[in-house]
């Protein structure tokens, strides 16, 4: 029942951007400076390091030079890519993404510990850079504001963010060296140690410099000033115990100053050579992030006139796809949630991105150089094949297009289009496809549905139902049954249930019966864009000729492609998944869940309804409204839900690897102790039908998979009525 669902909190965005206040503080400081009297607290800039100024500017010049060099080197690699249509359109929403995802780092916080750690380090770097900038302005510009109350305040927050930075570094050190945190070590490199230890040293040495200065200047004259620099002050107190002479402290100050400055610039130079470049690339990639639905794959325009299909060479990617390779920070979040990886199958999205990146670095320079010399833009500069050698065929086939990786990636990399582009090459240019997937594609071509060998017809499900209205353009809704809903035995009861419920709700609707043909989704996800376009165009024509306006779909895959992809073919329809329709009908009182259905259920979010289209609530609302039904969530749920294993055309493939994804997911469902696993997708249900018995061999007490509609049907019509209907 409603009150007993242990529904987890939604991943919530924390209020506001945390770094905002730091910037605010600085601004306030500038304002305050104007009001401060002349003899107020201050300090001498470049105290005790007379050569400091030129050194800092020399370092700065070198750093800027390096950054430019690094950027140009990267940019020449990105430039071998293809045009990225629309990358500079919809600027407002792109800017919003830059702020929300790039700067406020919404995705980083999906891992709470990492979110705090990263914010500490990030805010510390931002604020300390501002602190340094203020020092530079004070020293070299004809303004003076580092004195008086603001100077004290400045000293305070400088130290505060130094400490915050150290906390972040501490958390990072703990995580890297002491915690059982595997994902960050899947591809650990020397630079990872340099970055974290280096930053720790920069921050620590900063405190030592400050402490030394305080000891020889403020400590005795102005202890009340010194206290504001509480970090340096504390260190100074500590050093004070040893009773060094002033001249010793002066020497120590000079050495530590040079050490600190060299470390700081050295660390900043790491940006050019290490994944620290994500400082810039992550916000830029947030800007470049698609503004349309993640459920939409790119359309190959004028496919009949193309010569290159999909991506078979690194330069066939768009420059945005190449750019994002450089943004990857090897955090492993994508791989950690990847169903294929979880099941021990040969796919790790992180390694895929890193392998592509390494390949780009290998062959990119040659391609960039020879681009202008060959008529065929240096297609084969390397004997290492992108597909087959760098990225294995089975890696590409193992992807479920579930979007979990895209969802988690803190730097907004979009793995799915990249993977599908390579599949396109495999299928359309190379015709290299696993046999069972090939059979599904051939079946789509020959028979207009992917279910090879089905003995059912598109109208079989109608048997035993009185009067199924055919859609003729006069009704409000088209109820789209889909290939699985009509041609796969197990899914027929779901189709019937949806039909009866929609009918009961009093909606005006009809079905297409024999005239349904596959909408092409499996072809598109398997990489046969050409076949997809043929099927999609056909169906858009059918819909238009029948004056279809609103479609209720049975299947989240039909739902997704109608809703997000058919607009690419000028097919704009209002598309509703049956769970949305049914939840709406219940809320407006058109359907009533009268009969109690005593069931302990768990709910599985299909990827294409949940993560990719954000429909999490409707199905849960239905479950809540069914009296007697008690929902227990699985550990992975909502946007973190795990794929059933069937997506991305894997419904029609033999899985390779240690385990099958549906066994893993079935295990998770069984672990809730529920006696039914409820989903909303014909594929998920088939996967559970197969997976549950495998992980729970005894028939007695075995969990059973059902669609939301099947459960609701029992509640609306009564279990016996449904049972009677089935057996008749």
């Amino acid at each position: 029942m409603a009150d007993s669902t242990n529904r987890p909190a939604r991943p919530q965005r924390l209020v506001g951007a945390w770094w905002g206040p730091a910037v605010g503080l600085s601004a306030l400081g500038f304002y305050a400076s104007a009001t401060v009297p002349g003899d107020a607290p201050t300090r001498e800039i470049f105290f005790n390091v007379p050569d400091g100024a030129w050194a800092v500017y020399a370092f700065l010049a070198a750093l800027v030079g390096l950054l430019i060099f690094g950027f140009v080197r990267h940019a020449s690699l990105w430039s071998i890519g293809q045009p990225t249509p629309g990358a500079l359109k919809e600027i407002p929403s792109r800017l919003k993404n830059t702020v929300r995802l790039g700067m406020a780092q919404d995705k980083v916080r999906r891992d709470r510990y990492a979110g705090i750690m990263h914010w500490c380090i990030f805010s510390s770097i931002v604020v300390l850079t501002l602190v340094t900038a203020q020092v530079a302005i004070e020293a070299d510009f004809p303004v003076s504001f580092l004195h008086g109350d603001y100077y004290l305040f400045f000293s305070f927050y400088g130290d505060l963010f130094g400490v915050i930075g150290l906390i972040g570094v501490g958390m990072a050190l703990y995580r890297r060296y002491f915690a059982q945190m595997h994902r960050i070590r899947w591809d650990e490199r020397l630079e990872d140690h340099l970055i974290i230890v280096g930053l720790g040293l920069v921050l620590l040495s900063g405190f030592f410099v400050e402490a030394a200065r305080i000891m020889v200047t403020e400590m005795n004259q102005h202890p009340d000033w010194a206290r504001w620099s509480f970090g340096g002050f504390t260190v100074a107190k500590g050093i004070g115990v040893f009773g060094f002479e002033d001249h010793q402290m002066l020497a120590f100050h000079a050495y530590s100053w040079w050490f600190h400055v060299a470390m700081a610039f050295g660390w900043l130079a790491l940006i050019v050579f290490t994944r620290l470049d994500h400082m810039f690339f992550a916000p830029i990639n947030a800007f470049l992030l698609r503004t349309d639905s993640p459920g939409r794959l790119t359309k190959i325009e004028n496919i009949e006139e193309q010569e290159v299909f999909g991506v078979g060479f690194i330069q066939d990617f768009t420059w945005k796809q190449l750019f994002e390779l450089d943004a990857c920070v090897r955090c492993g979040r994508c791989t950690e949630v990847c169903p294929a990886n979880i099941a021990g199958q040969p796919l790790s999205p992180m390694h895929l991105i890193q392998d592509l990146k390494a390949h780009l670095a290998d062959v990119g320079p040659a391609i960039a150089q020879h681009r202008h010399e060959f008529s065929d833009p240096g297609r084969e500069v390397s004997s290492v094949a992108l597909i087959g050698d760098v990225i294995k065929d089975e890696t590409l086939w193992a992807c479920r297009t579930c979007g979990a990786c895209v969802q988690e990636c803190p730097v907004m990399i979009e793995h799915v289009p990249t993977i599908v582009d390579m599949r396109r090459y495999l299928v359309m240019s190379e015709a290299r496809i696993p046999a069972t997937a090939q059979a599904a594609l051939e079946n789509l071509e020959m028979r207009g549905h992917p279910w090879r060998g089905t003995a059912l017809e598109r109208t079989t499900w109608m048997e035993g139902l009185e009067e199924v209205p055919m859609f003729d353009g006069s009704q409000e809704y088209l109820y789209w049954v889909g290939c699985s809903g009509s041609l796969v035995e197990r899914n027929l009861p779901v189709t019937k249930a949806v039909f009866r419920l929609v009918k009961e709700s009093g909606a005006s609707f009809g079905v297409l019966g024999q005239e349904e043909t596959c909408n092409g989704d499996p072809a598109r996800r398997l990489g046969n864009e050409y076949l997809y376009q043929i099927l999609a165009q056909q169906l858009v024509e059918t819909f238009k000729s029948k004056n279809v306006q609103k479609v209720i779909t049975n299947c989240p895959h039909c739902f997704n492609t109608f809703k997000n992809e058919y607009p690419q073919f000028d097919g704009n329809f209002e598309v509703i998944h049956h769970t949305e329709f049914l939840a709406g009908a219940m809320q407006s009182g058109k359907l009533t869940a009268k009969h109690p259905v005593a069931a302990n259920v768990t709910y599985h979010d299909s990827c294409y309804l949940g993560r990719i289209n954000g429909v999490y609530d409707a199905p849960r609302q239905i479950l809540e409204m069914v009296p007697g039904t008690n929902l227990t969530e699985m550990q992975r749920n909502l946007s973190k839900g795990l794929c059933c294993g069937a997506g991305g055309g894997n419904m029609w493939q033999e899985e390779v690897g240690e385990r099958r994804v549906n066994h893993v997911r079935s295990e998770e469902a069984v672990r809730t102790g529920a006696d039914q696993v409820i989903s909303n997708c014909p594929f998920c249900i088939q996967m559970f039908e197969d997976g549950v018995p495998a992980v729970h061999p005894e028939e007695e007490g075995r969990m059973r998979p059902f669609d939301v509609a099947e459960l609701l049907e029992k509640s609306v019509f009564g279990e016996t009525a449904v049972a009677g209907e089935r057996s008749s």
Binding site: E304, E307, F309, V427, M428, S429, E430, A431, I433, A435, Q438, L441, E442, M446, R447, R452, G453, T454, A455, L456, E457, R458, T460, Q514, E515, Y530
Partner: protein, 266 residues
């Protein structure tokens, strides 16, 4: 080497049983609504065999189909796999023939092509399953025939063919020209590459009628057929369940064996 592949378009063998209907009056299959005819499975494999030979030895592949206009689709499919030319034998006079008239017509077309070195057929068409046409073409042309092949390779003098037998396989050699019928043991037909699909879509298929082949309309199709269809019907299916008695699984098993022996099934 110039290889001809004979490809037949047949009613979809995967037509759901409920959609498969027969017109008892005319003894004909009623085409199921919304279910398109397909390339006979074995003919796709024959095409694959021919294409592999072409890839190994060079030459060209021509695909011929005898059938209605819709058989264009079957021809295009083989063209997309990599065949070079397509010929459709289409004439009202060809309708309702049998294996003999089909073979005769195909043989005439092969003669008209002239420079053919080998003819590859499927082991049988997946609709009527007669398995006659290949052999009859060989007969008409006076060429050797090797049927039910699971492997074909070119030698200096001709072809080396692995034939599937009930208890293994045998290897035979044939001089060219020759006819080979190819079996499913050969392997799966390739999935066409998109550039080839597009190229195939643009190719024009030659159409020949009885006149083009110099065939008397009275000698082909229904008029020339030697086989008469008496009755076409869907067999009635019935099932009977007998539960084998026995207290233990062992006892049940031995009772089952006794029963099967009594019924002379084992």
């Amino acid at each position: 080497m110039h290889i001809v592949v004979c490809a037949k378009q047949i009613p979809d063998p995967e037509t759901p049983p409920s959609a498969f209907k027969i017109d008892a009056a005319t003894n004909k299959v009623i085409p199921a609504a919304g279910i398109s005819p397909v390339l006979s499975q074995f003919d796709g494999i024959a095409a694959e065999a021919a294409l592999r030979l072409k890839e190994a030895k060079g030459g060209k592949v021509t695909v011929i189909s005898l059938g209605a206009e819709s058989a264009q689709a079957a021809i295009k499919q083989v063209l997309a796999m990599g065949a070079d030319e397509g010929v459709l034998l289409k004439d009202a006079a060809f309708d309702d023939g049998d294996s003999y008239t089909t073979a005769r017509t195909l043989a005439e077309a092969i003669k008209k092509l002239g420079d053919v070195d080998a003819v590859f057929c499927g082991r049988q068409a997946a609709d009527w399953d007669m398995g006659q046409v290949g052999l009859l073409i060989a007969e008409e042309l006076g060429w050797p025939a090797a049927i039910i092949a699971k492997g074909v390779e070119a030698t200096d003098t001709g072809l080396k063919i692995q034939r599937v037998l009930a208890d293994g396989f045998e290897t035979v050699e044939a001089p060219l020209p020759a006819v080979v019928t190819v079996s499913n043991e050969f392997g799966e037909p390739r999935y066409p590459k998109l550039p080839q699909i597009m190229a195939a879509a643009k190719k024009t298929v030659t159409a020949w009628g009885a006149g083009d082949l110099g065939l008397d309309p009275g000698s082909v199709g229904k008029a020339g057929a030697r086989l008469q269809l008496q009755k076409l019907f869907i067999p009635e299916k019935s099932g009977r369940v007998e539960l084998i008695e026995g207290d233990t699984p062992q006892e049940q098993a031995s009772n089952l064996i006794k029963k099967l022996q009594a019924d002379k099934l084992i």
